[in-house]
């Protein structure tokens, strides 16, 4: 099912998933300045605006990806995951995001409600302290993509723009990958539609 669907899905330009990647966005998506390089000053475009104090300028995004909806139970929603490193001197707050593939985008977190994992919006945003990082991952913080404009198949790319509390933005491109979610992740707490045994 999922697998055959996936392998048959390839190139044709589809809906609003954009696949052409601006170099700057790509640099971010591919983790400019990440990992074992040890450079404290990433060399890519991330820091090209380092003279400003914009929040987006001190943030490095790594390992971004979006969960595919092909084969998923609810294909109207998905989520984007990544690591966010704050190399700056000030805390930054991620307050939202936008993408052409989803009509509505919110920051969410999972937490325990009455002994079951439930998803909640984060109206105050996600704070990344100076010199620290945060992981957005399944079962934790994520950028919720709702009212999707089309299905998201493994192998697609999604362009996403992150918005910070000072109004600065950072664009990135995330690959779409298959991932089996826990049941009930995309239901409001208390709807009781799924058994979380």
């Amino acid at each position: 099912m999922t697998r055959t669907t996936r392998t048959n899905r390839t190139a044709p330009a589809r809906g609003r998933v954009r696949r052409l990647v601006p170099a700057a966005a790509l640099a971010l998506a591919l983790g400019t300045g990440l990992a074992s390089c040890g450079d404290e000053e990433p060399t890519g475009s991330t820091d090209s605006t380092s003279e400003t104090t914009e929040q987006a300028g001190s943030v490095t995004i790594g390992d971004p990806w979006v969960r595919a909806t092909v084969g998923a139970e609810d294909t109207s929603m998905s989520a984007a995951f990544m690591t966010i490193d704050n190399d700056g001197e000030q805390d930054v707050t991620l307050v939202g995001a936008s993408t052409e593939v989803a009509a509505m985008v919110e920051l969410h977190e999972m937490s325990m409600v009455d002994g079951a994992m439930a998803m909640q919006a984060m109206p105050d945003g996600l704070v990344v302290a100076a010199g620290r990082g945060k992981v957005l991952e399944p079962g934790g913080y994520h950028v919720m993509l709702m009212d999707l404009q089309g299905e998201l198949a493994a192998g697609d790319e999604v362009e996403l723009t992150l918005e910070f509390s000072d109004g600065s933005e950072q664009a990135l491109t995330a690959p779409v990958k298959e991932f089996t979610e826990e049941e009930g992740h995309y239901h409001e707490p208390g709807t009781g539609e799924h058994d979380h045994s």
């Binding site: 390839t10 696949r19 990992a35 074992s36 040890g38 990544m82 992981v135 995330a174 690959p175």
Partner: protein
């Protein structure tokens, strides 16, 4: 060679994941590094890391010149029919993200089992492109001299170990980490390509004290003594494509060589040594000197050539081929194969040869060996595949970008 690995700023930051849901994907590996500012639980000094974390960036893919790893796994894939240049770009960007994460010891993005990734694993991932993908609309023409290896008289090639549009060579110090990396790369490629064959082998690249050694094949021969040494001008001239779209790349020949250990074992030690021209004890030339000394092809003993006319090391010697040579690596394999008579154990060598120009360097040497080489009595190529090795990529760039944009 890459400088010694450094601990990144990112590693020192540490992550605040979300509450309650087990180890953070990726963060587990990060924490496992042992941040410098973390207080050790005991005062006992930690043992040295068992291997290196090798950065994936640079002018060349680092897996080519990296020391032989203990485990090498090679997967060839075939592109699905409707994959075009634009889709190849998406696959290469996807793999770039995977390679950067896996090399650092993190799970690949979306990795359902990130705990299988670990830093200091000597992990390298090298991507190559087969002749079928070196055409207009895909990667465009391959590097100069790139193509299939022409048929050799001694070949007994099997389709199941031959060909492929793409190859991923994953090398590392342990099979679990390598298998996991292969699994992620193949699974993430599923929208674009399907695995065609997969070969895995091992090598012992260090002596008992941990010092690098050339290593041996399953005949017991020290194998690779004549290799140009990475970091030398000879190595660079031998391996890297100098100019054009593929500058910084190379070409890779993969030959699956079956070795008849039973008949080999029937030879006397003298016969075994003379078949190659080197001693079994340490790989030194039969004409004297240490292992890395050159052979004296003129030397005679009692009127007889010390290195016989059809010894492997003579027939392949660069001096007989106008200086043409290659950079070889290998992985010893043992596997069970179905035959008409049931299941048999087959042993051999997954032979890897890197050279800038396949037609000019590899082919003439291989043809000379096909014409005459004592080792042909006990070795048979049962698989053959060639891949243009993509140039390296820098941080912020992606694998194959200069070929696909």
């Amino acid at each position: 060679m890459s400088p010694a690995p450094r601990v990144s700023r990112r590693r020192l930051l540490g992550y605040v994941g979300s509450a309650g849901v087990g180890a953070a994907a990726g963060a587990g590996a990060v924490l496992a590094v042992g941040a410098e500012d973390a207080a050790p639980a005991s005062s006992a000094p930690a043992p040295a890391a068992p291997g290196r974390t090798i950065e994936p960036w640079g002018a060349h893919q680092p897996g080519v010149a990296a020391p032989q790893a203990a485990v090498s796994e090679l997967v060839a894939l075939d592109l699905l029919p409707d994959v075009d240049r634009e889709a190849l770009g998406r696959l290469m960007r996807l793999w770039t993200g995977d390679i950067e994460a896996l090399a650092a010891g993190r799970g690949a993005p979306g990795d359902p089992a990130p705990w299988l990734s670990q830093p200091a694993s000597d992990l390298t991932i090298t991507v190559g492109v087969g002749p079928g993908a070196c055409r207009p609309g895909l990667f465009g023409a391959g590097p100069p001299g790139f193509g299939d290896v022409p048929p050799m008289r001694h070949d007994r090639l099997q389709e199941r170990w031959s060909g492929g549009d793409l190859a991923v060579l994953v090398a590392g110090r342990d099979g679990t980490t390598v298998a996991h990396a292969v699994r992620r790369l193949v699974a993430d490629a599923a929208p674009f390509a399907r695995a065609r064959w997969r070969q895995v082998g091992s090598w012992n690249p260090t002596d008992p004290t941990g010092r690098p050694q050339t290593g041996r094949n399953l005949f017991g021969q020290v194998d690779g003594s004549g290799n140009p040494q990475p970091g030398t001008p000879l190595f660079d001239a031998t391996v890297w494509v100098r100019e054009g779209r593929w500058a910084g790349g190379s070409s890779l020949v993969v030959r699956c060589i079956r070795m008849d250990l039973d008949t080999w074992d029937e030879l006397t030690r003298d016969e075994q040594e003379r078949s190659v021209g080197r001693t079994l004890a340490d790989g030194a030339p039969l004409t004297g000197g240490p292992e890395l000394h050159d052979l004296d092809l003129e030397a005679r003993s009692q009127g007889r050539l010390v290195v016989p006319a059809d010894a492997h090391a003579r027939r392949a010697h660069p001096s007989l081929h106008g200086g043409r040579r290659m950079f070889r690596k290998g992985a010893n394999y043992t596997r069970e194969v179905e035959t008409g008579q049931g299941v048999e154990v087959e042993s051999g060598l997954v032979f890897l040869a890197f050279q800038a120009d396949l037609a000019d360097q590899f082919v003439p040497v291989q043809q000379a060996l096909d014409e005459s080489d004592q080792l042909n009595d006990w070795t048979t190529a049962i698989g053959s595949a060639t891949f243009a090795v993509l140039p390296g990529f820098e941080q912020g760039s992606w694998l194959g970008e200069q070929l696909l944009t």
